[in-house]
């Protein structure tokens, strides 16, 4: 992270990631999830929230291939099954093969949540 905090949700999120856990916040009053980590739920300002383990399931909302001389990589926006949207990368396939609507599942890489395509097994 570019901003280093010594305590607070930002720091706690990073600590969970270091333990290979993808945690998001849930407002106690409404049960609505939010991401990225904040001290209060946006809009309601609710300070009563808890960390919950994200299911890791999501859908690609949009996707692009970032082109550079050192190689191309995917950048995508993922709508988590719990509701919030996040930026990430879909990996494990060519960056051009990632499409909007693709079902993906999170995996934790060095202090970042990445996603892989969910493949449906033949019955």
């Amino acid at each position: 992270m570019s901003t280093t905090t010594t305590f607070g949700p930002d720091r706690e999120y990073q600590a969970f990631l270091a333990q290979k856990r993808f945690m998001i916040q849930r407002a106690r009053a409404t049960g609505a999830h939010f991401y990225y980590p904040r001290i209060a739920e946006p809009r309601s300002g609710a300070l009563e929230w808890e960390w919950v383990e994200a299911s890791g399931l999501g859908t690609v909302y949009s996707t692009t291939v970032v082109r550079s001389k050192s190689g191309n990589h995917n950048v995508a926006l993922i709508d988590l099954a719990e509701g919030p949207r996040m930026m990430s990368r879909v990996v494990g396939l060519s960056p051009e093969s990632v499409v909007i609507g693709m079902q993906v599942r999170a995996r934790i890489d060095v202090l970042a949540v990445l996603f892989e395509r969910v493949t449906v097994e033949a019955p």
């Binding site: 992270m1 570019s2 901003t3 990225y36 909302y61 949009s62 996707t63 692009t64 291939v65 970032v66 082109r67 550079s68 990589h73 950048v75 995508a76 926006l77 949207r85 996040m86 930026m87 990430s88 990368r89 051009e96 909007i100 609507g101 202090l111 970042a112």
Partner: protein
């Protein structure tokens, strides 16, 4: 700063004023967070009022909004709104204008700003069937306007095919879908209508201004196909007492080709999702159905990091009837829009001639 000062002196002179007549300075320099003090110092102005709202390319529409209120309230009598950047000669790349990196995105290495706009373009294509050819139409139309503007930076011929075959930056946007990286400066002087009657040129009137912010980072945008223009444009039209169909000249912040399509929709020039089809067939090029970005825009005229003030200058130039070969005949109402950040801050100004007041 030198470019900003040149533009400022030209604007003050154009208004028939001198530096001591200016009593408010609304300024923006991309790499100087203290420009509210350094610009007055450089020009030798002791302003009663300063303003430096910093919302990227939309800063200047917001400056105009506060300038109008300050003039109306009698806080000041003559406002200089100014900008300058030597981004091309100093770095040759996109100016980032500072700011704190957002770690929840930067870890994935988006190449911003193009990547954020590319994500919006990809989503628009997915939802509405917008094509890369339609994006290219925007770039080609801008270039054809630029070819009528001797001050435009990029004036060579550009075809749809050139755009489609250009180097990809962040899919689906190629380098031809991205704005220029140029140097440049612009400035405006604003005063009250009663005072403006005595100055050198027939004045152009600011009919309304409005802004809206919905997010900062693209991952926090609620819907990548709808911008905050959908919220602030109705306010601006209502305040000016005009409709989209009354607007003769449309200056839209075209940092990327998808911008023109998104904003034409959100201003109501066409229904949501129809922007790609609306611009097809040269419809926004010279001689088309709507005069859009008549100076060549950020895509072909000038884009020194923040373009919003250039859109306002072109709107005023058109309404003064001084646009030469690119003049839109009988232009009475012009819209000049600013976009800041990553589709983040939207701001609009609507200008009119004396006939429109």
């Amino acid at each position: 700063m030198e470019l900003l000062a040149q533009a400022s002196l030209a604007a003050i002179n154009d208004a028939g004023l001198t530096i001591p007549d200016i009593d408010a300075v609304f300024s923006m320099l991309p790499d100087d967070p203290w420009c509210a003090m350094s610009v007055p110092e450089y020009l030798g102005i002791r302003p009663k009022l300063i303003e430096s709202t910093r919302t990227g390319g939309s800063s200047f529409q917001i400056h105009a909004l506060w300038a109008a209120l300050a003039l109306d309230a009698g806080l000041c009598d003559a406002v200089l709104v100014c900008y300058g950047s030597n981004q091309r000669s100093s770095s040759g790349g996109f100016a980032t204008s500072g700011g704190t990196e957002f770690g929840y995105e930067s870890v994935y290495k988006p190449r911003n700003p193009p990547t954020s706009y590319a994500l919006a373009a990809a989503r628009h294509m997915h939802e509405f069937g917008t094509t890369r050819e339609q994006l290219a139409e925007v770039a080609v139309a801008a270039r054809r306007w630029a070819q009528l503007n001797p001050d435009a930076f990029a004036r060579d011929d550009l075809t749809i095919r050139d755009c489609l075959e250009a180097r990809m930056v962040s899919d689906p946007l190629t380098v031809r879908d991205c704005c220029l990286v140029t140097d440049g400066a612009a400035a405006l002087v604003m005063t009250r209508a009663d005072r403006a009657r005595d100055i050198r040129h027939p004045p152009v009137y600011l009919l309304s201004a409005a802004s809206a912010v919905w997010h900062r980072n693209i991952s926090a945008a609620p819907d990548l196909t709808i911008t905050a223009v959908a919220e602030c444009a109705p306010r601006a039209f209502a305040q000016a007492g005009v409709k989209a169909s009354d607007v003769d000249v449309v200056e839209i912040y075209d940092a990327f080709t998808i911008n023109t399509i998104l904003f034409l929709e959100d201003f109501g020039f066409c229904p949501k999702g129809e922007g790609g089809r609306f611009v097809a067939g040269g419809a926004i090029a010279p001689g088309g159905r709507l005069a859009v970005n008549t100076n060549g825009g950020g895509l072909s005229c000038v884009h020194p990091g923040m373009y919003g003030l250039f859109a306002m200058v072109e709107a005023v130039t058109q309404l003064r009837g001084q646009a030469g070969r690119r003049q839109v005949a009988g232009a009475n109402i012009a819209l000049a829009h600013g976009n800041g950040g990553l589709l983040s801050c939207q701001a609009v100004t609507i200008f009119g001639t004396a006939d429109a007041v």
